[in-house]
Structures are given as structure tokens and as C-alpha cells.
């Protein structure tokens, strides 16, 4: 095994068992029988190791769904749903760790270790949005359109949140939540709802001269 894989595997195991980072890079490397230098030539911190862990997870799911036989014939909405169901399937093997990591942060928090996960998903979501704009499922709103991946990321975070709190058999309620919430997400970005919301927001934001008071 390459040092980078050994570091990741051992770190993941530690995180799963203890729910927190090892005490120091030095101690961690001692346990692994490698030099500290070897660690820092791959990662700048434990956060970076963890970031890689979650980024890998979402990458695996994306790769799996994109190589599915029917993927190219799916609509944007079907693609998003397929991703979510595959993600939830993968999440079954990570539920405990997700509970201690994602469960402890709110859906709006963006800790450093989640950045790779977020970036990878958003890149994927941009592809879905592009596909949706092309097929007419998603309305192109010029400069607003780049915000859609952002919205889809919050949707993913809310699905994770729901999943971690779900105690139904085989987490079937999460499945239903995905169906329902994806419908809402697509309704919002397809129809005028977002335009209206933006319009309302612009109306409510105080104008410069009004602020002078």
C-alpha cells in the first residue's frame, strides 16, 4: 500500500473509532511507523486528510452513476435523483461516521474538511444544470444560473440531514424525502418562483438613500 493510502485508511479507522482526530500528526505517524515528513509531503493537516475522505466518497458515487448504462438518456431530474439514491446507498456504509461528523454540524456550516466534498458535488451539479438548461427543464437566468449548483448542494445537505435523523425501516422515508424535495427544487428552478423571490428580495433590500435615516 502506498503511504497516502495507509495514511487515509488509518486516519479513517481512527476517526470511526474515536469520533475525533488523532492527538497529533507525530503520534499518528508513530503508530503507522512512518516519518512525520512522509505525512506532510501528502497532507497539510488532518483536515486535509478528512477532506479527501469525503471527496472520495462523493467522487465514487458520481463515477458509479455516470457510468450507468442508462445515464446518457436520463433527464436532469432523473440524473439528480439517481445520484441521491446512489449516494444514500453508499452512505449506508458510512452512517455512523456521518452521524458524528455531518450530524454535529448544521446544514449551513462549511467546515474545512467538507470543502472537497462540496466542490466535487458542485462540479457534478453544474453538469446537471447544464443538461437541464439544454433540455429546457431548467430556465436559464443568466447570471443567476451559476447559483443553481449552490442550491442543489444545500438540497444535498438537507437530504443528509434528513437521512441522519431518519429512523424508518431501511430509511424509506429518506427515499420519499428525496423524491419530494427534488420535485420542489426542480419546480423552483423551472418556474418563475425564483424570479419572484429575487424580485421581492430586491424590493425589500433598503435603498442606499433610505439607509441614511
Amino acid at each position: 500500500m502506498e503511504p497516502i493510502e495507509r495514511i487515509t485508511a488509518s486516519f479513517t479507522e481512527h476517526l470511526r473509532e474515536h469520533g475525533r482526530y488523532p492527538e497529533s500528526v507525530y503520534l499518528f505517524c508513530q503508530g503507522l511507523g512512518i516519518e512525520e515528513k512522509a505525512f506532510f509531503s501528502e497532507f497539510g493537516s488532518f483536515e486535509a486528510v478528512e477532506a479527501g475522505l469525503w471527496e472520495d466518497l462523493v467522487s465514487r458515487v458520481i463515477l458509479a452513476v455516470e457510468s450507468g448504462a442508462e445515464w446518457t438518456s436520463f433527464s436532469a431530474r432523473q440524473r439528480l435523483l439517481t445520484f441521491h439514491f446512489a449516494f444514500l446507498e453508499e452512505a449506508l456504509s458510512w452512517r455512523s461516521l456521518m452521524l458524528s461528523r455531518f450530524g454535529a454540524t448544521g446544514p449551513f456550516a462549511r467546515p474545512a474538511w467538507m470543502r472537497g466534498f462540496e466542490a466535487r458535488f458542485k462540479a457534478f451539479a453544474s453538469g446537471i444544470v447544464a443538461k437541464g438548461v439544454e433540455s429546457g427543464e431548467i430556465a436559464d437566468r443568466g447570471r443567476l444560473t451559476p447559483l443553481y449548483p449552490e442550491a442543489l448542494y444545500f438540497h444535498l445537505r438537507s437530504v443528509i440531514d434528513f437521512y441522519l435523523k431518519d429512523d424508518s425501516k431501511r430509511f424509506e422515508r429518506t427515499d420519499a424525502f428525496v423524491e419530494k424535495s427534488a420535485a420542489v427544487a426542480f419546480d423552483v428552478i423551472r418556474t418563475q418562483a425564483l424570479d419572484s423571490a429575487v424580485d421581492l428580495a430586491r424590493f425589500l433590500v433598503p435603498r442606499p438613500h433610505a439607509c441614511k435615516g
Binding site: 439517481t82 441521491h84 424509506e172 427515499d175 420519499a176 419530494k180 427534488a182 420535485a183
Partner: protein, 446 residues
């Protein structure tokens, strides 16, 4: 059809949707009273139409329990004002499908592979939808299959739905909870059973085997190796749904033959097997090459010999003629309760004589021409009168056995289907009853 990806999920949102419907029904009543006060000529019918639509919209959005209940109510038409019954009858066909990725997910969970791993072709769109599942068309080795896939979490949310819907249903029907508790219990049990596809598979196989000798009655073959708790696979039957067949320009002889097959099928199940298909709505029967195909054994009811004897004692032509025996039979079935005063007894007996006269009429006459007969309209009329009858509503206590619900539902559904078919059917009394009746006339007791 637009795919519905929005089954109201959390208990809260489901409850909210139902309460929303209740509130709108209430608002419609307010409008009605306002109009009446202002003498704007509000008619009760229009009110029912508005409410029915509202309630139906809510029910069908929630799928699962409420939709099933709506279907049941549409069959027990005598329980409902006609406007509701009409709206709810749509429930048979109009539940929107779930998304294809979720179907794939269900397949992966149940069989560890995508539909394409089992079938060479699999339709992305549902061919048609049922209240707790949807049917996809699939092909393997040149053979066509119907694959029923269950909605996720249906079994889970069913109980809470019924809890929520109960008070609303009671209000619509004007009934008291303690009097119909058994009824709801029975319905809940059947509905929960219906979410168990493994049980449905087993019953489908058993019932189609034990009815296979019936002429012109056919069943699809079921495939255990392509079935699981959430997926049920059977032959694809390219037939015409019974209601469309009935409304088509087909000959009277063909309609009579299908009607007779239907009648024989139910007689055999109820009187010989004592296990029966308790979901007789037109979507569950297809006609192909002049034969009746029976689908969907999700809702079946088993009755005991003892209950069967009590329930069908009313088919005995001599019973109505003998007040003492009629009352004894009614007590047997708990239609008369020990605490009843003379007026209550009288009321129940009168009601009973009338229903027995109606429901057993085909048996008494030896045939029934459902095209000519006023039987159905008389049954509706009686139902409507009973529904409006204030004294009947105030009768205390649980009347009748909960087991009767599905027997009545089966017969009522059967009569409805036969009326739709305008079929003439030959009716014979079950053997055990004719033997009993002969014995009875011979001894001259009564």
C-alpha cells in the same frame, strides 16, 4: 402523465394536507350556509361536488392509506353521497407514477441489480398505477411481464394516515368513533396486509390454483423468483379493463358470459374456498378473448365456517317469512344487541328485512338481469336513506361483525360490476343452503 415526486412525507406534512382538506370542506359548507341564508339558491348537490373534489385531491396526493380508503368508499357507494362516490371512483386510475430512479433503487435493494439485470426490456414509465404501487411492463426471453413496484415507506405511513383520516371520514359519514372502531380495525388490517407483496404472491398462487377449474376465468402466472417484499412479477395480460369492456359495443351474449364468469368466480371463493378477492373494482379485471382475467390479490379476506353460516343464513328464502328465526339470526350476527329497546329492535328489523330483500333478491329469483333490474338503484336509494336517517345514526352500539365488511364489499362490488356489464346471470343457492331449506320446509317449523 406528470410524474409525482411529491408524496407528502413527514407525518406533519401529511397531517397538514389532510387538515387542509378538512378546512376547505368546512369552508365550502360555510359558503353553502351563507348562500342559503342569502337565498342565492345554493343546492346541496353543488356543495357535495365541490367538497368531493377537494377531498379527492388531497387523498390522491397522499397516496397510500387515504387513497385506498377513498377507493373503498367509492365501492361502498351507499356510504357516500353520489358526488363523492364519482370523484373517488377516479382513484382507480389517477394516482401519478413515481420516478424511474426510485424504481431502480427499489430493484437494487430487492434483487441487487437494476431492472435490466433481470429483464431485457423494462418500461421507464409506469404502464398504470395502483394506490400503493405502480406497474411496469417488462420483457424477458420474448415474454412480457407486469412488474408491480411498491412505493417506498407506504407500509410505514399507512397507520399514521388512517389515524389522521379517521375523524374526517367519520365526519363525512356522520358516524361515531366507538361504533365503528371494529370497522376501522378491520380496514387497517387489510390495508397493512396489502403492503406485503410476499403474502400477496402466496395468495395469488393459491387462489388462482384453487379456482383454475372455473370456466372462462383465467389468472396470470406469478413469478416468485422475480418477486420480493416490494416487487411482484406476473404475466402481462393484454386485456381490456372490465369497465371499458362493459361500455364498449360488445354483444349482450359476450357481456352475459363475462358476467356469469365473474359471478361463478365469487360464488366459488366465498362459498367453497371461504377466501376471496375483496377488491372488486373494475381495474382488477381484464377481458381478453372473451375470458375474464383476474388480477391483484392484494386484498383478500378469509372467513370462518361459522361466520359464513351466520352471514349467509340470510339467503335462506324461508328466513324472512319467519320473524322468530330472522331475529335469532340477527342476534347471531350482533345486528340486534341485548340492550335494545322495542323501538330500536323494530327499527333494525325493518332495516334488515329491507336489505335482505334487496341483497338476496338474485338468489331468491334464481337469476338476475343486471341490465334491466332496478336492484342497484334501489340499493343506492336505501343507502342514501340510511345515511340521512337521524334515528339510525343515533342507534348505539356496534352493529354487525367486522367480518361482514369485506363480504359486503365483495358483493356490493360484484353487483356494481354486473350492473356496469348489464349482464344476465344465473344464480343458484349454495348447496348447503338448499339442503337446509328443504329440510326446513319439510319439517314445517317456524
Amino acid at each position: 402523465m406528470i410524474e409525482q415526486d411529491s408524496i407528502a412525507t413527514t407525518r406533519f406534512s401529511r397531517s397538514a394536507a389532510l387538515v387542509g382538506s378538512g378546512a376547505k370542506v368546512g369552508a365550502n359548507y360555510l359558503k353553502y350556509y351563507a348562500r342559503r341564508v342569502l337565498s342565492l339558491g345554493a343546492d346541496e348537490q353543488a356543495l357535495h361536488e365541490e367538497n368531493a373534489e377537494e377531498v379527492f385531491r388531497t387523498f390522491s396526493r397522499l397516496k397510500g392509506g387515504p387513497l385506498k380508503l377513498a377507493q373503498m368508499l367509492s365501492i361502498d357507494r351507499d356510504l357516500l353521497p353520489p358526488a363523492y362516490a364519482r370523484q373517488f371512483a377516479q382513484a382507480h386510475y389517477s394516482a401519478p407514477p413515481l420516478s424511474y430512479p426510485l424504481v431502480i433503487r427499489t430493484f437494487r435493494r430487492e434483487f441487487g441489480c437494476e431492472p435490466q439485470g433481470i429483464f431485457s426490456a423494462f418500461s421507464r414509465q409506469a404502464a398504470h398505477s395502483a394506490s400503493i404501487g405502480q406497474v411496469h411492463r417488462a420483457v424477458k426471453d420474448g415474454k412480457e411481464f407486469a412488474v408491480k413496484v411498491q412505493y417506498p415507506g407506504v407500509a410505514d405511513s399507512l397507520r399514521s394516515d388512517l389515524r389522521v383520516i379517521k375523524p374526517i371520514a367519520l365526519q363525512i359519514l356522520g358516524l361515531r368513533q366507538q361504533d365503528v372502531e371494529d370497522y376501522f380495525q378491520e380496514v387497517e388490517t387489510r390495508l397493512i396486509e396489502e403492503t406485503n407483496y410476499a403474502l400477496e404472491l402466496q395468495r395469488s398462487i393459491e387462489l388462482s390454483r384453487s379456482s383454475s377449474h372455473l370456466e372462462h376465468v383465467r389468472f396470470p402466472v406469478y413469478y416468485p423468483r422475480f418477486s420480493s417484499a416490494r416487487i411482484l412479477t406476473m404475466d402481462w395480460v393484454a386485456g381490456v379493463p372490465l369497465d371499458r369492456f362493459a361500455d364498449s359495443s360488445t354483444s349482450a351474449a359476450a357481456r352475459d358470459r363475462i358476467g356469469q364468469s365473474l359471478w361463478n368466480f365469487y360464488s366459488h371463493q366465498i362459498h367453497s374456498l371461504k377466501v376471496f378477492h375483496a377488491d372488486p373494482h373494475p381495474g382488477n379485471f381484464l377481458v381478453k378473448d372473451d375470458e375474464l382475467w383476474v388480477l391483484d390479490f392484494g386484498c383478500t379476506k378469509t372467513i370462518t365456517d361459522d361466520f359464513h353460516r351466520k352471514q349467509f343464513a340470510f339467503l335462506d328464502p324461508n328466513l324472512v317469512a319467519s320473524p322468530a328465526r330472522l331475529e335469532a339470526a340477527m342476534e347471531d350476527l350482533d345486528f340486534l344487541l341485548p340492550g335494545d329497546g322495542p323501538a330500536e329492535r323494530q327499527k333494525m328489523i325493518a332495516l334488515f328485512e329491507r336489505s335482505v330483500e334487496l341483497l338476496a333478491r338474485p338468489f331468491r329469483e334464481g337469476y338476475c338481469d343486471f341490465g334491466e333490474s332496478t336492484l342497484m338503484s334501489e340499493i343506492y336509494e336505501m343507502g342514501e336513506e340510511n345515511r340521512r336517517d337521524e334515528t339510525l345514526r343515533t342507534l348505539r352500539g356496534r352493529r354487525g361483525s367486522a367480518d361482514s365488511i369485506y363480504v359486503n364489499r365483495a358483493y356490493f362490488g360484484l353487483y356494481s360490476l354486473l350492473s356496469r356489464l348489464r349482464a344476465r346471470v344465473e344464480v343458484s343457492l349454495p348447496d348447503w343452503l338448499t339442503a337446509g331449506a328443504r329440510e326446513f320446509s319439510a319439517t314445517g317449523a317456524g
